[in-house]
């Protein structure tokens, strides 16, 4: 099958390919092109790179003693391949593989000629090839054509004539900007006699902002971009700033090497800009399982597996995923090397990054200023007591001011005295040690402890102290916010429960190893996020891990719990506080601080800040100005009579929506690397020895091998890597021509199909690098070629000879991609609206599409212009992708896709005929046609041209007009109800019947094969 099958189909093709390949001088057999495919398909599974699967200690991917170079008859290999005895013959019968006599002939010839092995072509660095000689020089427009023509001439074929101007216009528009031209644009191009007309159009399209949108969609398939987390709950995520980064990068002509480095390791660039950190969203597009009760580290491992596999496919064109479970069966990548690559990518934390727009930042500053002013002014908002009366309009005279100051001072003093009565002298303990089952605990300057790194579903924190205080009566646990925590903390939860949540199941204290008995626990705030059960600080002492304390919806704030010791603890040289978190998801505390007191009496938890409470306990005469300000500010924040004024302040604070966030990578600090292990059989539960980062040996030995993610990113686009430029150019080529020069655009390994034009591929790859990795530059080369400009129509002979257009004797003809189908309908009907970037939108689709998803996700259908934005901006839900796109082979975002299928199904017909999106387009087209001028034929012609772009034939107009007349007659006769067919806004139109009949006609035109095809 595979290569052989193809060879049978087009035998002459292979022959020519061999002649053209540079390493080839005569009719000599090539290991790379003739022999390796046979051995790889039939032998390598047992006699290849994987030593665990290797039989008889024989490997055939390198020279061995079963080969006697020059002597086929003495070679054991040939003897075994041709043995009559079934027990002797290879491959064995149970493998269900057979080698044909033709293949055996090739192997015989290869041994005869010396049985020379070659490095797989894709693993050899490309060098710029010589341009081949051609006869028909006049056809050649640029170097690309030399390679294509040389091949055609060798095959005895001629290129097709250039496509007509209209086909070219439609082709260029759809390929470069993903939208069709208007008939007027096409006419202008067709009528432009300047020799620069074509190039001018190309340049114009390359500069269009629509270009970045069109090509971003291609990249987002690879990036597995989605607006939801995937798996069961498939909740919304905010990562659209990454999508916008891709659009902007492509529009601004960012070179592909930088495009790579910023996405893989933008956070590690010196002084990384926000945009460079946003770019690291590339590998945050992996899925997140939020199902209750999962093992979060297991699904983190799956995300890592996805990252390795995606990196392999997108840049290297290697099936790295094959080496997850064992050494690669066909390519020289060992099991350990797989995990060495993983290690480059495995050392990052995964935070959310706030990315305010410029406008939002400006507003935020403004509001911050207003809030600061208002806070200062709070003191002037004190309502005066009844006995001091002023007229409402009284000015703030000095006298009033003075009276107010006196009044406030009096109130403050009263508060202070009352506070002094109840204030507790808490001694903050400095931890001597803070450890946990997994998170890395960091002791901060204020003696609080911050949890960082990974978590499990059942974590235990242990914090040790050497307290000096005697007769301890109570312990205070402060849970504190921190900018590094999800939603600002104080909790460490990042999925399933609300971000920043925690659930403290049990708290125990040991003094010199003996448990300390605690009673009367209290808290300042408690709320449960999931489930109906009550939560409280007291429930952390009940011995039941299913109950505990949580502060849901209290993110970004400090909360306090106090535990009374019964009896008081006389003294302890060692104090250990142990906290257990065993919800069905990781829900540790993110930051906390422990204090003790010897105050007598049963103490309760209070919100008063530690520093304020401490000051209150000292005489105010000793306060500095700052001290006083701090205490006074707290007084203002709690005084009852200012409640209303503070509410207004809160309103001010919340007066505009929060800045959007996006998902990014953040390399871990040096003292907390995440180890990577080799996993036996690729299973999460079977980690074996630890492995360090490294590049597979197939890329040669380097003294300066990459050491970290940033260096790895640079290596991907360095000269040391023979693959990336070829893989990327081949992929782009396939977008234009519907097929890659290497057909397996996802695989350049030893199992890949040989390139149809190897030297053209190397020319493209070397030019790409030489031209500074310019994607726009290479796109221009490709579309400027005569090869690209050929007509796509095909004769029966040529179809028989070259059904897949491997030889490029004609232009590409292809059904446009899913999003382009909708964009085209919106565009020709005039509905489309253009706005770059921003949160995703919800164009109409049947409710039943998302009803079937878990949690009955509500599709919040957009109104107004958002309804008609380009499909790139449609909300992408993994478990219920937008139905119309999926039907046309759109992607779900569940894995990296470099090549979409291009199917042709009845469900596509039903979508185009009946889906609301397309019906709305037909209605808009119907209305504009009815509103137009001229005869029925003239209108029919205009409608046809709007959708097909090209000039139309008389017969086509007649067919359309006849259809229109038949429908309008049925409407006039009352057989069809025009009011149901047109858009609601047209139901009262005077031309109702005409609009309806034209709507029906437009619907038909939108369904023509040619309408959604690039010719």
């Amino acid at each position: 099958m595979n290569e052989l099958f193809q060879n049978r189909l087009v035998p002459s093709m292979t022959a020519v390919l061999l002649i053209l390949f540079s390493s080839f001088a005569s009719a000599e057999i090539s290991f790379n092109y003739d022999i390796r495919p046979i051995l790889a398909a039939n032998c390598f599974e047992c006699h290849g790179p994987d030593q665990n699967a290797r039989k008889a200690k024989l490997r055939l991917d390198q020279p061995s003693d079963v080969l006697s170079p020059g002597k086929p008859t003495e070679s054991e290999l040939l003897r075994r391949l041709t043995a009559h005895d079934v027990d002797e013959r290879m491959p064995p019968a149970e493998s269900k593989r057979t080698i044909t006599s033709e293949q055996i002939g090739k192997i015989r010839q290869w041994i005869q000629e010396g049985a020379k092995y070659e490095k797989h072509w894709a693993f050899i660095r490309p060098s710029k090839p010589e341009l081949p000689p051609v006869d028909r020089k006049s056809w050649v427009r640029n170097d690309i054509d030399r390679f294509v023509l040389a091949r055609l001439e060798a095959e005895g074929l001629r290129p097709s004539p250039e496509a007509d101007r209209y086909a070219l216009a439609k082709r260029l528009f759809l390929d470069l900007v993903g939208l069709p031209p208007t008939p007027e644009e096409a006419d202008a191009f067709a009528g432009d006699r300047s020799p620069m007309a074509y190039e001018n159009l190309v340049d114009r399209l390359l500069k269009s902002e629509r270009y970045g949108e069109r090509w971003a969609r291609k990249w987002l398939d690879i990036a597995r971009y989605s607006d939801t987390n995937g798996y069961e709950k498939d909740r919304e995520r905010s990562i659209w700033p990454y999508r916008d980064w891709v659009i902007n990068a492509i529009n601004s002509g960012m070179p592909f090497d930088r495009f790579t480095i910023e996405q893989i390791a933008g956070d590690m660039l010196p002084n990384a800009r926000v945009s460079q950190r946003v770019a690291t969203g590339f590998h945050r597009n992996t899925m997140l399982n939020e199902e209750g009760g999962i093992d979060p580290l297991e699904f983190r491992f799956y995300a890592m597996v996805d990252r390795v596999s995606t990196t392999g496919t997108a840049w290297l064109g290697l099936t790295l995923m094959c080496a997850q479970c064992h050494t690669h069966k066909y390519d020289p990548i060992t099991h350990t090397e797989y995990y060495q690559i993983m290690d480059y990518l495995n050392n990052a934390d995964e935070p959310d990054l706030s990315v305010p727009t410029r406008e939002q930042s400006r507003k935020q500053k403004q509001v911050d200023f207003q809030v600061a002013m208002a806070e200062k002014n709070l003191v002037n908002k004190f309502p005066f007591p009844d006995k001091i009366k002023f007229s409402e309009k009284a000015k703030e005279t000095d006298e009033v001011k003075k009276l107010r100051e006196q009044w406030v001072q009096k109130r403050f003093n009263a508060w202070l005295n009352a506070e002094r009565e109840i204030a507790v002298h808490w001694s903050v303990l400095k931890p001597t040690k803070a450890t946990s089952t997994l998170p890395k605990m960091r002791i901060l300057a204020d003696h609080s402890v911050l949890a960082t790194g990974d978590q499990t579903k059942r974590d235990i924190y242990k914090t040790s102290f050497k307290p000096t205080l005697k007769n301890v009566t109570a312990m205070r646990l402060e849970v504190l916010p921190h900018e590094s925590l999800p939603a600002g903390g104080p909790g460490f939860a990042y999925y399933e429960g609300p971000k920043g949540d925690f659930f403290l199941s049990e708290l125990t204290v040991r003094a010199n190893g003996e448990p300390v008995k605690m009673t009367d626990a209290t808290h300042t705030y408690a709320k449960n996020a999931i489930g109906r059960g009550k939560v409280s600080a007291a429930l952390t002492l009940d011995g039941d891990g299913g109950t505990g304390w949580s502060t849901a919806q209290g993110t970004g704030k400090r909360h306090v719990a106090v535990f009374n010791f019964d009896p008081p603890l006389k003294a302890a040289s060692e104090l250990e506080v142990e906290m257990l978190f065993e919800r069905h998801y990781p829900a540790g505390i993110g930051r906390y601080r422990i204090s003790l007191t010897d105050n007598e009496g049963t103490l309760t938890a209070r919100t008063i800040p530690h520093d304020v409470e401490r000051l209150i306990l000292t005489p105010s005469t000793g306060w500095s100005a700052e001290d006083r300000e701090q205490v006074f500010a707290h007084f203002l924040s709690v005084d009852e009579s200012l409640k209303k004024a503070r509410a207004e302040l809160d309103k001010l604070r919340n007066q505009f929506p929060k800045a959007p966030t996006t998902l990014v990578m953040q390399e871990r600090p040096a003292d907390h690397p995440r180890p990577t292990f080799r996993h036996h059989r690729g299973e999460f539960t079977q980690p074996k020895e630890q492995v360090g980062a490294g590049i597979p040996a197939l890329f040669g030995k380097h003294s300066n091998a990459p050491q970290n993610r940033l260096e790895f990113a640079k290596w991907l686009v360095s000269e040391r890597n023979p693959l990336t430029a070829r893989v990327v150019m081949n992929r782009h080529w396939s977008t234009f021509f519907g097929r890659g020069l290497v057909r397996t655009i996802e695989d350049f390994g030893t199992q890949s199909s040989p390139p149809s034009h190897p030297r053209l591929l190397d020319w493209l790859a070397t030019e790409f690098v030489a031209r500074g990795w310019s994607m726009k530059g290479m796109h221009k080369w490709i579309v400027m070629s005569a090869t690209y400009r050929q007509a796509s129509s095909v004769t029966a002979d040529l179809l028989e000879r070259d059904p897949n257009n491997v030889l490029l004797a004609r232009g590409p003809r292809k059904r446009i991609e899913a999003e382009m189908v909708r964009d085209l309908a919106l565009s020709v009907s005039g509905l489309i609206t253009h706005q770059i970037g921003g949160p995703s939108v919800f164009p109409p689709q049947p409710a039943s599409v998302t009803d079937i998803a878990y949690g009955r996700f509500k599709w919040r259908t957009s109104d107004g212009e958002a309804r008609f934005r380009r499909s790139l901006y449609t909300f992408a839900k993994r478990t219920a992708p937008f139905a119309a796109y999926l039907t046309f082979d759109g992607v779900s975002g569940e894995s990296c896709i470099v090549r979409r299928e291009r199917s042709n199904t009845p469900l596509q017909a039903l979508t185009l005929l009946n889906d609301q999106v397309f019906n709305e387009s037909a209605q808009a087209l119907g209305r504009s046609t009815a509103d137009g001028t001229g005869s029925i034929a003239a209108r029919a012609k205009k409608l046809l041209r709007t959708c097909l772009i090209r000039p139309v034939a008389k017969q086509e107009i007649q067919w359309l007009a006849a259809y229109y007349k038949a429908q309008v007659a049925r409407i006039n006769a009352g057989d069809l109800k025009a009011g149901q067919i047109v858009a609601p806004t047209d139901r009262k139109s005077k031309k109702l019947n005409q609009i309806a009949a034209w709507t029906m006609t437009a619907r038909a035109v939108l369904n023509f094969d040619e309408t959604i095809t690039q010719e």
Partner: protein
């Protein structure tokens, strides 16, 4: 040779696919000698690997995971030990979703009796299944790799715990093609609550979209967009298709791309589906007797009972694989009440399907599978923060499924668990084994049904799976 356009891919794609790697063995035997000018669909019905026992599958998937301890696997020992903790040595090292290592044993909530000649022991919650016990084969030693719903459902349906692989129905459509020329070959029906695995459960994954499972909706259009927009009658639709067809044929004559012919066929099949799908959903031709047997009703759309009946109607019309989902078995709390409620909704209909197929002579050519994604713990689940008590947690180590139909040895019980129902001790059957067995009964060798995607060959059963020989007739 069937030229079903639903399965028609582009010729271009077909040749691309055929060249990829060592895969495509499914196509190898039939394709090698075919002329490239042949216009026949590349994925029309294909040769089997061996003689099939059945043509169709109805998979009654009980999502949420029913408690085998309340339905099939009778463990009196649990009643004895109720309230006592399972020794931590048993539970330590196992991963659970919600419970902790000190969880106590919960005794069975229902009585069990023996049924039929096979003497299969079933709980009092399954009286209807009991009445047909001699028609089914019960596998009591099932086990799986995943202990959470979405991954386990994905694992069962696609052979892998992470979304993105083709569903079993897609593999069958790919491997065997379709017998229906007016309906999809892989149809999905759903009743009751939330389905954790979502649309990834019937995704065609890396296989062409042609093989995707098509959900039939209980409200609105049975198939998305199968109804015309408001205002269009059948004649208008016919006129429209005629105009589209005329224009497409004209273009075909000018540019010669055979793809256009495929599109013409697709539109004609779409037109046939437009009449076929509503007819299928309309139960007025079914007798009162049949409706009563299933517990179905003419206006009871969306119920499990109606879906079981629809499943029969679908395979009657040539649909190869009907995936019925009933999501309601996740009883973390009050497993007794939960199982009682769900059994009431499903027992009668599942049994009726078997009886109905048998009466119509269709059981021999159909395989019916009943299973959840995993089992439930012998230990109790209770958690006051979550408000749970007397429930059972997820238990991947052991669960029960049953099969009936062609090729299955009826009236058998295979496999056993230990006295706590914790581990399988006899005839362990892994989910990959069940997948291999289903493919086998349809005439496919799970080791030879291969598709190469991005350079790597894939199978439904990955590198695992053994036939469950004891269940085969």
């Amino acid at each position: 040779m069937n030229s079903n356009p639903l399965l028609n891919q582009t010729r271009r794609q077909f040749f691309q696919d055929c060249g990829v790697g060592v895969g495509k063995i499914a196509l190898a035997s039939t394709m090698a000698g075919r002329s490239i000018a042949n216009q026949t669909s590349p994925i029309a019905p294909k040769r089997h690997h061996h003689t099939p026992k059945v043509k169709n599958v109805i998979f009654l998937f009980q999502a949420g995971a029913p408690s085998q301890l309340e339905l099939f696997d009778h463990k009196p020992k649990l009643a004895e030990l109720e309230g006592k903790p399972i020794p931590p040595s048993v539970i330590q090292g196992q991963r659970y979703a919600f419970i902790q290592p000190d969880a106590a044993v919960l005794g069975p909530r229902f009585k069990f009796t023996r049924h039929g000649q096979s003497g299969a022991e079933l709980s009092e919650m399954l009286p209807h299944l009991g009445a047909i016990a001699d028609e089914i084969a019960v596998l009591k030693g099932c086990t799986t790799d995943q202990f959470n719903h979405a991954p386990a459902q994905l694992f069962y349906n696609t052979g892998f715990g992470v979304p993105g692989r083709p569903a079993m129905g897609s593999w069958l459509s790919y491997g065997l093609g379709s017998e229906a020329n007016d309906l999809p070959s892989f149809v999905v029906l759903k009743s009751a609550g939330n389905l954790s695995g979502g649309a990834a459960l019937w995704s065609s994954g890396f296989l062409p979209t042609t093989h995707v499972g098509v959900p039939f909706r209980s409200t609105g259009d049975p198939i998305l967009n199968v109804a015309n927009p408001a205002g269009y009658d059948q004649k208008a639709q016919r006129d429209t298709l005629d105009l589209i067809g005329k224009m497409n044929r004209r273009r075909l004559g000018l540019v010669g791309d055979p793809e256009i012919e495929t599109r013409i066929n697709s539109y004609e099949m779409a037109y046939r589906m437009q009449t076929r799908a509503p007819e299928l959903m309309d139960l007025k031709g079914e007798s009162e007797h049949t409706l009563t047997m299933y517990g179905a009703s003419r206006n009871g759309s969306g119920s499990y009972a109606n879906n079981c009946l629809l499943a029969r109607r679908l395979i009657e019309r040539g649909v190869r694989f009907v995936q019925v989902y009933h999501a309601g078995w996740d009883h973390h709390s009050n497993v007794e009440g939960g199982v009682r409620g769900q059994a009431r909704l499903t027992d009668r209909s599942s049994a009726a399907l078997i009886k109905d197929l048998k009466m119509r002579g269709m059981l021999d050519e159909t395989l019916v599978v009943w299973s959840g994604e995993f089992g439930r713990t012998p230990m109790v689940e209770s958690n006051s923060a979550l408000g749970r008590k007397l429930g059972r947690d997820h238990h991947p180590q052991a669960f029960t499924c049953w099969m009936a139909g062609g090729g299955i040895k009826p009236g058998t019980v295979i496999g056993a668990t230990d006295e706590l129902g914790f581990h399988v001790v006899e005839d362990k059957v892994h989910v990959h084994d069940i997948q291999a067995t289903i493919l086998h009964l349809l005439g496919l060798d799970h080791e030879r049904l291969i598709y190469t995607f991005q350079g790597r060959p894939y199978r439904l059963t990955d590198v695992h799976g053994h036939l469950v020989k004891k269940i085969l007739a």
